[in-house]
Structure formats: C-alpha cells, structure tokens
C-alpha cells in the first residue's frame, strides 16, 4: 500500500497482490479452521495445487523454465496478502521460494542452468526446504561420494507433501557444506508423520532420514553458506511480509469484533483502554507497512546495505507481529482464545514466523557482528 505508484513494477505488484487477495478469499477463508487443525484435520490439498496453477510457486523461477522470472520482493507481496487471511499458505509459498533462491544462487555461481532441467515440477508443485533453521543451527546429513546423502534433516517444511527437497549436506571431513536437490519419493527416504507445531499448521513439516539417497549438487561444492546467505538476504523481505500480513489481519478482526461486542452497556471499542490497545496495533501496522515497503524498495533498487535493512525488517516486524497479534487475541477476550475466530491462529503463526530463516536471536547477533565489523 505504500509502494511507489509510478512504474510498471508497481503495476505488476498490484496485479499479484490482487491475485493473492482473490485467491485467499476464494480458497482459504472457507474451512480455515479445519485446515489449521492439520495434522488433526484435512490439509487443503486442492488449494495447494491451485496456488501452483496460478503461478505462486514460480515467481522467482526463470521464465525459461516456466516461471515468472521476478524476484523475492514480488514473492513478498503475495506472502503478505495471503498472510492476512491464512499464513499457512503463505508459508508454503515462502518455503518453495526460499528453495528456488538457493537453486538460483547455485546456478548463478556455477554459471549453469542444468539444475533447472532436472525436473519439470519446478513452479507447479512446491519444493520442501528447512525454512525455520539456519544451517549452522543443525546437524547435517553426510554427502557420500557421487552425492548420495545419509543422515537426518529435522523439521523439513513441506517434506510430507513435496516431491523434491533442497537440503544442506556436508561431505566427510569437510567444514563447508553444499545444498542438494533430491527426490523425496526415493525409497531410501524415510519420512516421519507431520510434526505437530506451534503455528502454520497448514504448512507442515516432517523429520526425514536418508540412507544413501541420490542427490543433485546445487551450485559448486562447498558453496552452501554463500547460497544460504544470498537466499536469506532476499527472503528476509518475505519473512517481514508474513509478519506484516498477520498484523494487518489481526487489526482488522480486532476492529470488527470490538465494534460488535457490548459490555458495560456499550461497544467495547468505545472503552478507553480497548481503544488505546487498538491504537498500539494501528501504530505497529502502519510502521510495519512503512518498514516493509522501504526495505522492498531498497532491495529492488539495490541500495547499499539493503541486506541489513531487510534483515532488520524481518526481525523488527517479527517482534511487532508477536506483540500485535497477542493484543489481537486479548481484544477478543475469551473468544480470542477460541478457534472460531482467527486471532489465536494469527498469534501462533506470528510467533512461528519469527523463526523463519532461523533463530531470530542468532540473526540479531550476526547483524551486530556485521555492524561492528564495518565500524572498525
């Protein structure tokens, strides 16, 4: 909403925003509660398929391979709009886009597009990826000779529903790691039941064990850290977008409910403290919108330091969304705690979104490290 209105990018952005809004209204609103109960309810497999048909998994995929050929900023537009209604679907779009960023970075470093030719499923079905852990937080599988992976990947997002996954692995005795693309349908892959998680239930994760699973190296050997960083710089904007969408959705529902609910003989929206809490949410929503919009601009414009700005936006908006969605529940009182309303899901989703791309505190410490380094 704060975007620059004067260029064609803005038109495209508007088009995708409208598409995402429309999709949310048609495919996500109904049965939201049911889908959020997964794995104890039905997953919206139809909607997942439809999102692929309208192109949500190919935004940052090159045009030559069936994608839209845009960048993560455009993914962020979609993530934001979906998150206003149902952040789980946004999580799916996010996870796939993150995996594609790794692939893009790898292809660029290797100066070869071969990886894109390995399957024709890119862009139509989502890829699985460890969206909630940075590589330095986990124990990685080992990559044997010829790229066969053995070991374990915990909390592999979409691992239970995707055909392919992008996973990190380390060759024996090496310090550096690489990313690999692998087929999850391979018989040497064991996939756990869906992991029960705090939020984003409709974007489920699984624990996966590999026993010599053939895998395709992405980019050059040992270049995983670079791929990861490049991906994270760009996807930070999408993480911020999810937080922003959740704040906006929560504010909207709070406004509706408090205008509707009477206590003490009047609409509770007219109680002073209720209004002050809404004011706090509104300030957060507007400030978060500005912060996101500027970070997006900086990335598109390639401004110096845009990576740090995007990282800070992700962290800051994560915190704001945590506070705002918690207040969003509180404003609905007992109903806020119940699944009949969307607020409790937003609160959980917002908290979960804070861990997108890894532990926020580790990311903060890294940011401090960079800034201290530059100041020396």
């Amino acid at each position: 909403m704060n975007a620059i209105n004067t260029d064609s990018l803005a038109c495209e952005r508007q088009a995708f925003a409208d598409l995402a809004k429309d999709f949310s209204a048609k495919k996500l609103v109904e049965n939201r509660e049911e889908h959020d109960r997964y794995p104890f309810g039905e997953l919206f497999t139809e909607a997942i398929k439809d999102a692929g048909i309208i192109g949500f998994y190919g935004i940052n995929l090159p045009v030559d391979y069936g994608g839209v050929g845009l960048n993560a900023a455009m993914v962020a537009v979609i993530v934001e709009k979906l998150s206003e209604v149902e952040a789980g679907m946004a999580g799916i779009v996010f996870t796939n886009a993150a995996a594609l960023e790794i692939i893009r970075e790898g292809a660029a470093a290797k100066k070869s597009d071969d990886i894109y030719k390995s399957t024709d499923r890119f862009g139509t079905a989502p890829l699985a990826f460890q969206s909630f852990h940075a590589p330095n937080e986990i124990d990685m599988p080992a990559a044997g000779p010829g790229g066969a992976l053995s070991g374990r990947i915990d909390y592999l997002t979409l691992g239970g529903i995707a055909d392919f996954a992008v996973v990190p692995a380390r060759s024996d005795g090496e310090k550096a790691f690489s990313y690999y693309l692998l087929d999850l349908k391979n018989t040497n892959v064991s996939i756990s039941k869906p992991v029960v998680s705090l939020g984003l239930h409709s974007c489920p994760a699984v624990d996966v064990t590999f026993e010599g699973v053939p895998a395709l190296l992405i980019g050059t050997q040992g270049d995983g850290e670079n791929c990861y960083r490049a991906m994270r710089d760009r996807m930070s904007l999408c993480a911020a977008a999810m937080s922003l969408g959740l704040i906006q959705g929560s504010l909207k529902e709070a406004l509706e409910y408090t205008a509707d609910r009477y206590q003490g003989g009047r609409q509770i929206i007219d109680w002073g403290q209720v209004r002050m809490m809404i004011a706090g949410m509104a300030v957060k929503a507007l400030a978060a919108g500005s912060c996101f919009s500027s970070a997006s601009c900086d990335m598109d414009g390639g401004c110096i330091g845009w990576e740090k700005t995007a990282l800070a936006a992700a962290i800051h908006l994560g915190e704001l969304a945590n506070q705002a969605t918690t207040d969003g529940v509180q404003l609905l009182g007992g109903n806020g705690y119940m699944k009949d309303y969307g607020q409790e899901q937003r609160m959980r989703d917002a908290r979960q979104a804070q861990s997108l791309l890894g532990n926020a505190l580790f990311r903060k410490m890294e940011l401090a490290g960079q800034i201290i380094e530059e100041s020396r």
Partner: protein
C-alpha cells in the same frame, strides 16, 4: 494450596486448571456462607473422591453476551444478563445458556449464577447448586481452544431447570442478605470479591507455574544445544535470558504469595487466621465431625457466618484483598507470557515443535491473561480498590 497449583501447572497448566477450578467452585460457594449446603457438598466431594469417582465443582457464570459484565460488580447493572431464575413453588426455575465454563463437562456440582430480574441484576442476584442429572440441565458443546487442552470450556444449558429451595445458596432477596447492614449491593460486591480475592491469586500461581515450566524447558534446551562449538547456555546473552526467566518465576511466586497472605488476613480465609479458630483447627478432635458439624445445617450457622463476613467486613479489608489479588493475577500471568516468549526466543525453530515443550507453554499461558477477568479488567479493579479509591473526583469504569 497456591504453590501446589504452581507445581502442577509447571508441567501441565491444563491439569492445574482442572484442580484450580474445582477449588474455584468451592471458593464461589463459600461466600454464600450457606453452611448447610456447604456441609452437604463438601461431604459428598470427600466421599466421592474416596470412591475414585471424584465429584468436581465448577463455577457457572459467563454468558454469551455477558463476560466482564457479570464478573465486575461495577458493570453488573449495565450488562445484558441472560440467565434468569424465576421463583416457583418450593424453589426456582432456571433458564439460560452459559459458556466458557471450565470443568463443565468434568464436574458434578455446578455452582450457577443467575438473576431474578434481568433489569436489576445487582439486587436480584442468585447463586444455586445444580448437580448432574437435574431435570432441564444439559451439557452443550465444548469450545475449541488454543491451549489448555487437558481442560474444557463447556457450554451448559438450562431449560426450565427446577432448583429446590434447599439448593439455593444465595438469594439476594432473602432477608439475611436484603437486610444486611450495608445493603444488598455492597454485599453482592463483597461476595464477588471474596471469590476473586482467593481465585485470582490461584491464576497467578498457574501463570507462575507456566513461567517456571517455560524456564525449565529453556534451561534444559540451552544446556544441551550446541552453537558455534559451545553450549548455548554458555553464551552470555543466553545466560541473561535464562536469568530473567528465573527472576520472573521468583517474582511471580513472591507476588502471588503476598496476595495469599493478604487474603488470609483480610479475605475469605480471615476467620481461619483468627487465633482461637486457628488453634482450634489445629487441635480439633475427631468428635467434632459427628457432634458439632450437624449444627451447621441449622440456619443459625449461616446467620452467624453472614453476620461476620458481610456485616463486619470493611471496605479496607475488601479493597486490600481484592486489589492484591488483581495484582497477583495480572502480574504473574504477564510474567508467564513473557517467559513463554523468552523460551521460544531462545529455542528458535526447535521451540516450535510440540515435542519440545515450549510451544505448549506459549499456547497455555495466553488463557491466563484472559480468564478470571481479563488482565485489563483486573487493572481496573486494582484501580478501584487501591489506586483511585478515596478520590472524590475519580469515576470508575467510565
């Protein structure tokens, strides 16, 4: 009692809640000082527990259109109450729908609040005890909650449910109350405050328990998790976070105990803290139960207790116990939310998994900021009791 609740809640606040709500039901029945009913219900509770089929109590108050309104004496008159008790031969006919009733489906004894006149709720307040199986009483749905999944939030339905006079624990139009020295409104206000003064410290204990569970979970994690070659627990910033969590637990406990002391001296338990009563209870001989306790069934006991607890109760006592209970309630539950967040901060993606414990704390603790009146209403109550009282220009709940 409160530390016991904390202990249970540190592992599962849903279970802690079930136990707590049972006592909440009792604490609601006590301020009726209806010795006869109390005697019967309590004896059944003890007997049923020994049989292995415990008869729990619950507190049946919240209605679809009246949450805060029915818990806050200042708002009662402005609320839209919907559960009506109509006087009929030999008792009352209760009609209405109650929601969010903790322990509803688990309980046997339902302590139900109703009103004779929906236009004058504060002066026609009624409390009665309805056991399972009563005609016209039925269970409705169970709410789908974010957390506290071990416990229930139930819908209870009353359709021409007849309650005999014997089970009416409080009838405000009854002379012992209507003619109480300080008036019906003051007395109803005191009854409500007797309940919340003891219950809210209990919610504080639950909040503190969850804070402790979150702390213990995070500490276990930090002692095992490796980052950059060392243990997370040896990162200085992680130590600071864990320290804050530890402090929050101890602060919470200190605060709810302060509320408990206040309540002991100036609230529902104050009779027990009187020296003669206190020592008598210590040395109470076995024959008491057979000899003295039948006398409780006489109306006299109720009248004496009501005299003591209604007429002799002072504004200052009520304000101190109710005010401190609100301090405990909102402080400890806010600390609980803080700790649940800190645990998730520390654990990052690993904290999101149900099998790692912290996410449950996060879901569970949010309820404690909402029930037993939202923390904001507790702040308002504290304002009325201890902050803005004695200030003539100050208006409450405006």
């Amino acid at each position: 009692m409160y530390p016991f609740i904390e202990e249970i809640a540190s592992v599962c606040s849903g279970l802690g809640h079930i136990i707590f709500v049972h006592y909440l039901g009792l604490a609601t029945l006590f301020p009726s000082f209806n010795a006869k009913i109390l005697n019967r219900v309590l004896r059944d509770v003890v007997k049923s527990e020994k049989k292995g089929e415990p008869h729990l109590l619950d507190l049946v108050i919240t209605e679809p259109d009246a949450g805060t309104d029915v818990q806050e004496p200042f708002l009662l008159d402005r609320g839209r109450v919907g559960t009506i008790a109509r006087k009929v031969d030999g008792g009352y006919m209760v009609n209405g729908r109650k929601i969010f009733i903790s322990n509803g489906h688990f309980s046997y004894w339902h302590v139900v609040m109703a009103f004779e006149d929906k236009k004058n709720p504060a002066e026609t307040f009624i409390q009665c005890v309805i056991p399972n199986g009563s005609k016209g009483f039925s269970f409705g749905t169970r709410e789908k909650k974010m957390g506290h999944l071990a416990s229930t939030a139930s819908e209870l339905l009353f359709e021409d449910c007849f309650v005999p006079n014997d089970w009416m624990s409080i009838v405000c139009q009854d002379p012992t109350i209507r003619n109480s020295k300080k008036g019906i409104r003051w007395t109803v206000h005191s009854m409500i405050d007797y309940v919340v003064s003891s219950s809210r410290a209990g919610v504080g204990a639950i909040g503190t328990g969850i804070a402790r569970g979150a702390y213990e979970t995070a500490m276990d994690y930090a002692r095992k998790k490796k980052v950059g070659g060392g243990l997370l627990v040896n990162q200085q910033w992680a130590q600071i976070i864990l320290t804050d969590m530890y402090r929050n637990v101890n602060m919470g406990r200190t605060i709810y105990m302060e509320s408990a002391y206040t309540d002991m001296l100036q609230g529902l338990f104050k009779l027990l803290a009187k020296k003669p009563v206190h020592y008598f209870l210590d040395i109470m001989p076995g024959w008491y139960f057979s000899l003295i306790s039948p006398m409780l069934s006489l109306g006299l006991a109720t009248r004496i207790l009501r005299k003591y607890y209604y007429d002799w109760y002072t504004d200052n006592e009520r304000d101190a116990s109710s005010g401190w209970a609100s301090i405990a309630k909102y402080t400890c539950t806010d600390l609980g939310v803080t700790n649940a967040n800190l645990a998730l901060d520390l654990m990052g993606g690993d904290g999101l998994r149900h099998d790692h414990g912290a996410e449950k704390c996060y879901r569970d603790v949010k309820l404690t900021q909402i029930y037993e009146s939202t923390n904001q209403v507790n702040q308002m109550n504290l304002f009325c009791c201890l902050v803005g009282n004695h200030m003539p220009e100050v208006e409450f709940f405006k």
